[in-house]
Amino acid sequence: MGLDAILIPAILFFALGVIAKVIKSDLKFPDGLGKGLSIYLLIAIGLKGGVELANAELGLAFKSIFWAMVLGFLTPMIGYVILRFRDRIDRFNAAAITAHYGSVSAGTFLAAIAFLDVSGIEYESYPIVMMVIMEAPAIIIGLLLAAMARRKLQAVGGEAVATPWKSLLHEATTNGSVVLLLGALVIGAVSSPEAMEKVYPFSHGIFMGVLCLFLLDLGMEAARRMKAFKQVGLPLVAFGIIMPLIGGLIGIFVGASILGFSAGGTMLVAILAASASYIAVPPAMRMGVPEANPSYYLTLALGVTFPFNVLVGIPLFYSLSVWYIG
């Protein structure tokens, strides 16, 4: 895994996006283009997963789902302990930040798929289902931790904010990404192969090219966030690099030893565990933990962990998976 590993167009376009903002180019995507690309990608990856899942083992599928939930609950709890170490980060911000690490960044996951596709490496389709599952637990943990913090605060005479549990759990399970991914999975699984073939030029053919465009855009957004590093502070920036390393190692163990995936599939599980959501979780935290500062968690998830995973995590976790599996 040398330089070749990142010399694939999708990753290069991500780098181009970062460079564009670093040299202060006025390159700008029109409003909504990024959202449109991400809608396309979620549908395409969902359809792909659905077609393959139709022929998958039910047992292993359920096992994957179970372990996805475990990862979704476990990683943010580890993150919370780290953030609260010596009381460095206050409870609300710690809860909101760590929730992002339990969930998944679709952009990172897709970059990992591009890495495997272009390198001609096989991988299982179960991680796509796991990605759908991992939104909810992370959000729930974040809200729970914040609710506990509120109780602590009240005990010392602070004001009460009732956590709007019902609406937030609803949000966690019906947010746009989940609906698109799950819907496309089901549609891919139930549609006839002949029908799906008519959709392939759209969902498969242009997939890699659209992904390039998408990662270019995310590269610019990531770089824009990097400006807030100073404001966020070194300890948090360090957390944004340590946390994906911890998550990735746990993910490799789960993918290889528990689920028995190939090196490709194992790396995808590692990326699920290592990546931090910047689409689904930030809104949930903004609604559910208004006390936390949004610029902290957006900067960390998008400006630190995302580029780290795309440029370092993907090849690293793949190499480790190959080595671990033997």
């Binding site: 004001e159 957004e221 824009r224 689409i279 609604m287 208004p290």
Partner: protein
């Protein structure tokens, strides 16, 4: 000019994600007419560049009679006290659409 009414134009700038909270407040106060638009901005919660949902602002403009003005501000402030970052201000306006300020319609 007998068809003109002095009312309050309340403008509320907040995160896109909180827009249903604001609409619920309108509903609660039986405010059925409002205008809203996407805006960007910067403030205490950082830069809102409009790229992601969590990163976009919405601005509500709502023209209310004096009678509804104070309850609206009070409701919004209750939300602000909970930690939500709504930026709220009002302007004195004259409404010229005749139907929009017949006595008793607001």
């Amino acid at each position: 000019m007998d068809n003109l009414c002095n009312q309050k134009l309340v403008q509320i700038i907040t995160s896109n994600i909180l827009d249903t909270r604001i609409k619920k407040i309108f509903k609660k106060l039986a405010i059925n007419s409002y205008t809203n638009l996407s805006v960007n901005g910067e403030g205490d919660s950082g830069l809102q560049s409009g790229h992601f949902d969590a990163d976009s602002n919405v601005m509500f403009m709502v023209m209310v009679s004096e009678a509804k003005f104070e309850p609206l501000i009070a409701e919004l402030n209750r939300d602000i006290e909970k930690g939500y970052h709504h930026f709220v201000f009002s302007l004195n306006a004259e409404v010229h659409s005749p139907k929009k300020c017949r006595p008793g319609t607001k």
